[in-house]
Symmetry: C2
Subunit: 318 residues, 2 copies
Amino acid sequence: MSWNSPSVVVVGTVAFDSIKTPFGERSRIVGGAGTYIGWSTSRLGIGAGLVSVIGEDFPQTELESMTEAGMDLEGISCPKGGKSFFWSGSYHMDMNGRDTLATELNVLADFKPEIPESWKNARYVMLGNIDPTLQASVLDQMEQRPELVVLDTMNFWMDIALEPLKAVIARVDVLTINDEEARQLSGERSLMKAARAVLKMGPRYLVIKKGEHGALLFHMEGEEIRYFFCPALPLEDVVDPTGAGDTFAGGFIGHVARKGSTDFETLKQAVVVGSALASFTCEAFGTDGIRSVNPMEIEERIASFRRMTDWKREQVEA
Amino acid sequence: MSWNSPSVVVVGTVAFDSIKTPFGERSRIVGGAGTYIGWSTSRLGIGAGLVSVIGEDFPQTELESMTEAGMDLEGISCPKGGKSFFWSGSYHMDMNGRDTLATELNVLADFKPEIPESWKNARYVMLGNIDPTLQASVLDQMEQRPELVVLDTMNFWMDIALEPLKAVIARVDVLTINDEEARQLSGERSLMKAARAVLKMGPRYLVIKKGEHGALLFHMEGEEIRYFFCPALPLEDVVDPTGAGDTFAGGFIGHVARKGSTDFETLKQAVVVGSALASFTCEAFGTDGIRSVNPMEIEERIASFRRMTDWKREQVEA
């Protein structure tokens, strides 16, 4: 492993999105899970190595910005004549739902993640939301078991590829899904029971992302289930939530990487840092909210999370 | 004001409910906002004075249990030949929605709250969810401005009695509503903007109840909006959420009463105590979950809330 190989390897789409929200619309802006994750870890001073595929239509200037921000793009392939993955969606008025208007797989249809040789000993791996078979192939290529593997997925894969999904879930440390997906995956209505069931499938940790309602981290200590809750910051305006979950994941694994620890206390902090970074993404279209955030702004936002749940605990008793 | 007059006066229904949830059903069990609020404050050692109306069908044994628990029932009238208010509802599988199957107003149709003479100097008043005109009539009867008036209401009154509702909201200190109601009342999509708008209507504090997603407390300090968030405890099973909001309100004002303070720090704690008490109500049908809770169980649950949002704040920075 060369001295400057990335400690975090990220697999996920680097793509174009067209987005419509009650605040306006943007056409063919840069998006994709890998992009958001990469920008997010970069804000913590962690230069992730991205494994992805783009088309020849992807702007060179954007790749240069990503490299300048510290991302290593050696793992991004660009097949001749290919077109980038494209997604288009429209958010409902309350921002809690969205309709997919178009999905063009393009180069993603034949994507086979290839991990650069010097990245195969990376300590941290973030498997963004793609086909679980591809997520598994990334783990197969690693020369040693990473210290922490985080896997993000969605109900789509539960519907069409449940067995491969379960197989890869069994191999990771952290699974990040939303509350409805936790219920679907476990068949349990109670989130607590769902969490127990999912943790029996293999992961040491489960993060349940609830969007504007915050995030829950679950962990078994022996037979006891432990949980931690981080609220979402109430924002003046949620302009565009696209990529918020990926930004969260990037902040989460980025914090683990900068702390060099995977214990429960560090992962609680990682949930707070991920939530703080995700809040920036929601405040503007595409990656505009996250790409220029500086450490002081992050610290200020983390302080808001602190204030938001602080209460004088000693004095509750009458 | 006699030495033993209640310091908390509660206005709300004392009634019968028939409830169906995925966990079973119960027919004509004791319920009503006033009932849940009264049981909740009683668990904190605060004997509320209930102002309500019941029918002759209401069980004497139940009234005796309430009195034994410390509630003062002098404000409950019982018209000759009257039947108690009755509500029947069925919860959806996910417990986040419910259908009202029947509402029989009965004695509630002619209810005019009458505050007993010796209660008219009470320091704390909890106006449960009833017609805003009746809520206002309670305030009119008070001989001096209470230290804290909490008002609970719902979208139903926004739909049919918006002006009387706004008039009474302008006279209270704390308004408790859910997130959709805050949006409806303010016409703002963003909860933050909705909170600002509602606080301009008069109340010093706004509590936004989000059920399984917790509760937010908003407060203006000069031009700055301050907020506090308390999650809901993830429960093994939510057996019956009926009365959870009222239990929250009872715990909230009960905590204020036992502390004798209405500052922001005390109100944050009140949100935690209210949330803790509400969690007991959700664990069983009707008032079964709350009526036998003891101080040690409450402290244990408050400790769970503490653990749930605790993270090592000093060490987040890399």
